[in-house]
Subunit: 384 residues, 2 copies
Amino acid sequence: MKVMIMGMDGYLGWPLSMHLSSRGHEVSGVDNLSRRKNVNETGSWSATPIKTMNERRIRYKEVSGKDLTFYRGDLVEPSFTDLVVKKEMPDCIVHLGEIPSAPYSMIDVDHCNYTQNNNIIGNNNILFAMKDHVPNCHLLKLGTMGEYGTPNLDIPEGFFEIEYRGRKDKLPYPRQPGSWYHLAKVHETWNIMFANKIWGLRATDVMQGVVHGVLTDDMETDDLITRFDFDEVWGTAINRFCAQAVVGHDVTPYGKGGQTRGYLALRDSMQCFTLAVENPPDETEYRVFNQFDETYSVNALAEIVSKVAKEYDLEGKIRNIPNPRLEAEKHRYEPDMKHLPALGFKPKFNLEDELRITLPKLIEYKDRIEAKRDKIKPKIFWSQ
Amino acid sequence: MKVMIMGMDGYLGWPLSMHLSSRGHEVSGVDNLSRRKNVNETGSWSATPIKTMNERRIRYKEVSGKDLTFYRGDLVEPSFTDLVVKKEMPDCIVHLGEIPSAPYSMIDVDHCNYTQNNNIIGNNNILFAMKDHVPNCHLLKLGTMGEYGTPNLDIPEGFFEIEYRGRKDKLPYPRQPGSWYHLAKVHETWNIMFANKIWGLRATDVMQGVVHGVLTDDMETDDLITRFDFDEVWGTAINRFCAQAVVGHDVTPYGKGGQTRGYLALRDSMQCFTLAVENPPDETEYRVFNQFDETYSVNALAEIVSKVAKEYDLEGKIRNIPNPRLEAEKHRYEPDMKHLPALGFKPKFNLEDELRITLPKLIEYKDRIEAKRDKIKPKIFWSQ
C-alpha cells in the first residue's frame, strides 16, 4: 500500500514510517522540521540525540535495504500539500504533522494562534488535496483522547445515541478540550467530519491516549531512535517523571494527581496505526477510534515510575506540586474502546514493561537530561 | 457604557453603531473594510450604494451631533487588536468583525482557509486582549443558528442536560454546521467557552438567525443606509428573492425548499443586541442566546416575498432550482428561545412588515441590481 506520513520527523512519525516500511508498504513522508525548531525555541531538547532526516533515511536503508521518500515542506502551504499528494497519490495518508503541545499553545496569543492556525490549516489543505487528487484515499488522522475532556459520562467512540425531550438522534459526542492545542484538534475533527459529509472522503479519526516509550523493534541502532522530550512544554507526565527519576530529582505530579487519562506503549501505538492502515474504513465512511490500552491517574503513574526506578537504584521520591493547568483533579474516566479490538488489537506492553525498556535507555543519556533539568518545572500557567 | 463594535463597517455593525450611539452609549469601532473588498472580488456590490466610513461618520455627526470613533485595522493582527482594546478600554465588545458567507468559504481551499483563519484568529486576539486589559469586559459575540445544523431534536440555547447509560451531565449541545464558514463559528464558540473557563471572561454567544431588512430609524438619509447584498455569495435567500422580484426574474428557492431557518428583522436584531449589551452576563458567566423571531421554510419565504412583491406590481413567479448546497431539504426545526424574551425582547417587525419597507427601497435602486443580475444564480457547489 502507498502510505504517506505527514509529520515523518516526529516522535510517532519516524517509528511509524519504519514500521510500515518493514511491513512492505511503500512509505513517503512530509515534515517541516518544526518540532525540532519549536523544542529548541523553548530551550530544551530530546533526551535521545536524534539524527537528521537524511541521516535517518540513509541509516534505515543500510539496515533494511528499504527507501523512505521524504519531502521537506509546510502543510500550511496549500500549493505544497497539493503537490506532494498529487505526486505520491497515496492510498493512505497518516496525518501526524501537527504541533502537539498543550503548554506550548498556552504560552501567549502568538503560540495559541500558531498552534491553531498550523494544525487547522494544514489539516484543511490535506482534505482539499485528497478531494482533488485521491478521493478514495484513507485519511488516518491523529486526534487525542483530550478532545473529550473529562465528562461525567462514559466516553463513546465519537458519536452517541441519545434521547432528549422525548426524541432520539445520533449525534457527535460533545467535546470539552482543555487547552488551545486540544481545541484545535476538536476543530479539525469537525472539519474532517464535514469533508466526509460533502465529498465522501473516508477517514479514521484517532482519539489517542498518551503514548510512552522510546524504542521499537526497527531501531536496530540508536541512529534510528525516536525523540524523547521530557521538559514541561513537550514532555508528557510519564516522560517528565522518568527524566526526574534519572537525574535524582523528586517525581512531581501536578496538583492532587487524580487526573486520569488513557495510556499506550509506543509499539502498541504502532500496532494500532498499522491495523487502521491495513483495515481502512468503507468508501465514504468516517469512523472514530479511541486508541489506548490502560488508564492511570497521574499519582498512579508516579508510583509506577518510582517503583520501576528503584529497580535501577534511582530514588524516585514523589512530591505533588501546584497544578499549572486548570483541570479536574478527581473525576470519572470511562472511555469505550471497541473498534480497535474488533480489528484484532492486542496490547503487548503495559506501562511497567515499557518502563523497563525506557529507563535503562534514558540512563545512557543522563547527561543530556541533567543539562536541561531546569526545563522540567512548570512555568506556563493556564490562568496566567 | 463604552461599547466597541468589531466590524463597524458591516451590514449589522454600521446600524448597531448608530443605534447604540443614539441610546447614549460611547461607541468606537474597528474594521479592515474586508467586506467591501471581498464582495468586490466576487464581482458584485450592495444594492444600496454605501458611503465610505469617513463619509458615514461625518454624516451621522451632522444628523445626531454624536461622534463615532473608528479604527481601520485587521483583528487578525494581535498587536493591532491589543492596541485598540487597550486604548478604548471598553465595557462591552460586540464582535461582528468576521467573514460571514457560507458560499464564499466553499469556493476553494484558499477561501476556506481565509475564512477560518480570519474568523478564528481575530476572535482569539480579542479574547487575549480582553484578558490582558479589560478582564471584566463583556464579549457579545455574533455566532449563528447555523452552528446547530438541523438535528432531529429540539435545539436548546447552547447546553443541554442528558442522561447517557444511566448517568447525567450538562454538556455543550453538539453542533453540526454546514459549511467551512459555519464550522469556523463553531470553533470560535468552543474557544470562547474555554477562555471563559480559564480566565473567567464573561461572554454572550449569540446564535442569530438570518437577519432581513435594510433600514433602521437612525438612517435619516440614504447616506446612512447599510449594505444590502443580493448575489449568490453574499446575499441571503430573502435578499436574493427580493432582488429577483425587483428585476422581474423568477424567485428561485434552492432544492425542494423545505430548508427551515430562524429569521429576524434588522431592527429587531438591533433590539436584541441592545438588550444583551445593557444586560450583561454575570462576572465569569458564559451564556448562549438563540436570537430569532420567526421560522420559515425557504418555500414559505419565497411565497411571502412573491405575495408582497405583487403589491408593488412585481410578478414574483416562483421556480425551484437545483440546490447547490448539501443540506436536508425537509427536516425538523425547533429551536428554543427563552433568554432574550426573559430580558424583555418583543419582536416588532415580522417578515411581511419588513418587506413592505425593504422592497420599495430596493425598487429605488433597481438599476444597481439589474447591473449584477447574473450574480444571483448559484455557481458555487458544496460537492464540487
